[in-house]
Amino acid sequence: MKYMLLMNHAATPGSQPVDEWAPDDIKASGAAMWAIHEELTANGELVGAERLAGPQAAKIVTHDGVGAPVVTDGPFPESKEFLAGYWFVDVESEERAIEIAARTSAAPGPGGEPMAREIQVRPVMGAPDREP
């Protein structure tokens, strides 16, 4: 069963932005994420994973199909609703997808405290499972 685990750009509201973290905290957070990545790879559960650049590097494109496409630098939703990255996993069950999401959510932030980031667990649409 395939799932997308989606992580938004910022941590829980009110928390420190990542560019203000202590170097050791950044390192610890990276190590926790890497450990999850390694485990998913070793299990053959990882289909893909990417980090996305922040709002500063993002563009919004709209096109009415007639004139020239309109390209703007925003405005973007609040950073807590701005997609920061995803894991595309193929796992045994929804429980396993939730377990991975929970560990990702609990990755350490400033001072080594679990971040409790919101991770969306989204089933990927697949082939029919019914016998017509």
Binding site: A127, P128, D129
Partner: protein, 403 residues
């Protein structure tokens, strides 16, 4: 000139025989499986160009054995344990080829209960089915590296379980056979729904499931459940050409063009299940096959013998206690005693299938039969929101829109 497809078929037939021999020679299933995979890849490139060797099986065993020797030498160099490795090296020249077919032993090992079906399926496809990692990865729409890792992890788990490379005996045999049949059934259903585009590779999964189940049936022809599973697959496969419309949309059983059904497969499936049922020890695959046979033998949807289907679902429900069976029984009950009776049976499923789209889909269907247009539309929409299948969602939304 040898056709590429025939080389491919030949390799798939030979794969389990070769792996059985190499695993026996070296007493190491894990490494032998990698070595045979390499030998199959070598054959797939060399044979079409140079023609197949005189003794294809011996050729594959020799190439795989050479890989095993290289592997052992590599380990030896690394570990400097010359004495141990040298004693395990086969003499130069073709190794002795044991004259036996270990395909079934391999299949039982790959479907070991220590594995989840999701890891047993790809391992079975590679070790017993002779598919390449790339082919398996394509069928499951994941990167090749991911699939390779999954297979390697499955082999490690078998190794850790300590399962020997022998056929289980006595009571264990029956229990292990259940795992084998379950894995083959799931492999079949993986490919069952596939029809278009990227899903074409998946329909090969059904074909492979049928091929492997034929192999098991040929080895153990008297087992009624094996025959039942094969019949179930054939009777389902027979409907494949009618199951999807020109744009890949689902066509429900009642609306399928039955002239597209594969008569030869239906005849074979009906004959298998008819021969299996009177043998006693009726199992769930035989019952499911019997239900599929009743559907497949009806000239038109209206001619379906619903009372018989209802009776069979009754038996199956008692045997399995599976709420999905009760769900299907409610449809049969509605066809025999009217939609109200079917809807009443669904009442008991609300807890056990809470949130499952099929409960909403069946309820919608029965409400539609009952003339409750608004109720049916609402349920079709709920079901469409809950399914993770695109084709299913489109089908359910179309049903709702039509009302």
């Amino acid at each position: 000139v040898t056709q590429p497809s025939s080389v491919e078929e030949q390799l798939r037939e030979l794969a389990p025989l070769v792996l059985g021999a190499v695993a026996r020679l070296y007493g190491d299933f894990d490494d032998a499986e990698d070595a045979v995979q390499e030998a199959l890849l070598a054959a797939a490139t060399q044979w079409p160009a140079e023609g197949p060797p005189e003794n294809p099986r011996g050729w594959l065993i020799a190439v795989a054995a050479r890989r095993m020797t290289d592997r052992l030498r590599g380990e030896e160099a690394r570990r400097r344990r010359e004495v141990v490795a040298a004693s395990r090296e086969p003499a130069d020249g073709p190794p002795p080829v044991p004259d036996r077919d270990d395909s079934l032993v391999l299949l039982f090992l790959c479907c070991h209960p220590a594995l989840t079906p999701a890891s047993a399926i790809p391992l079975t496809l590679r070790a017993v089915g002779g598919l390449t990692t790339a082919e398996i990865a394509r069928a499951f729409l994941v990167p090749e590296a991911t699939m390779a890792q999954r297979i390697s992890r499955a082999k490690q788990r078998i190794k850790a379980s300590g399962a020997p490379f022998v056929m289980p005996a006595g009571g264990e045999w029956a229990e292990r056979l259940r795992s084998v049949l379950h894995v083959l059934y799931l492999l079949f259903t993986e490919g069952y729904a596939a029809s278009t585009g990227a899903q074409v590779a998946r329909s090969e999964l059904s074909a492979e499931a049928i091929r492997l189940t034929r192999m098991v049936h040929a080895s153990v022809p008297d087992d009624a459940e094996i025959a039942g599973l094969l019949a179930l697959m054939l009777l389902g496969e027979a409907r494949r050409p009618a199951r999807t419309g020109p744009d890949g949309e689902l066509v429900p059983l009642a609306e399928q063009d039955r002239s597209l059904w594969d008569r030869a497969l239906i005849e074979e499936g009906v004959a298998l299940v008819s021969a299996a049922l009177p043998r006693g020890a009726v199992g769930e695959y035989q019952l499911q096959a019997a239900i599929a046979a009743v559907h497949d033998e009806a000239e038109t949807a209206d001619a379906t013998d619903w009372p018989q289907i209802l009776a069979l679902y009754g038996l199956l429900d008692r045997m399995t206690g599976n709420p999905m069976v009760t769900l299907n029984r409610s449809v049969a009950l509605a066809m025999v005693d009217g939609p109200a009776a079917g809807l009443a049976l669904l009442e008991g499923l609300d807890d056990r299938l809470a949130g499952h789209y099929r409960l909403d889909a069946v309820r919608a269907h029965l409400l539609e039969m009952d003339g409750d247009r608004d109720g049916a539309i609402a349920r079709y929409r709920t079901a469409a929101g809950r399914t993770t299948s695109t084709a299913e969602r489109d089908y359910l939304l179309t049903r709702a829109a039509r009302l």
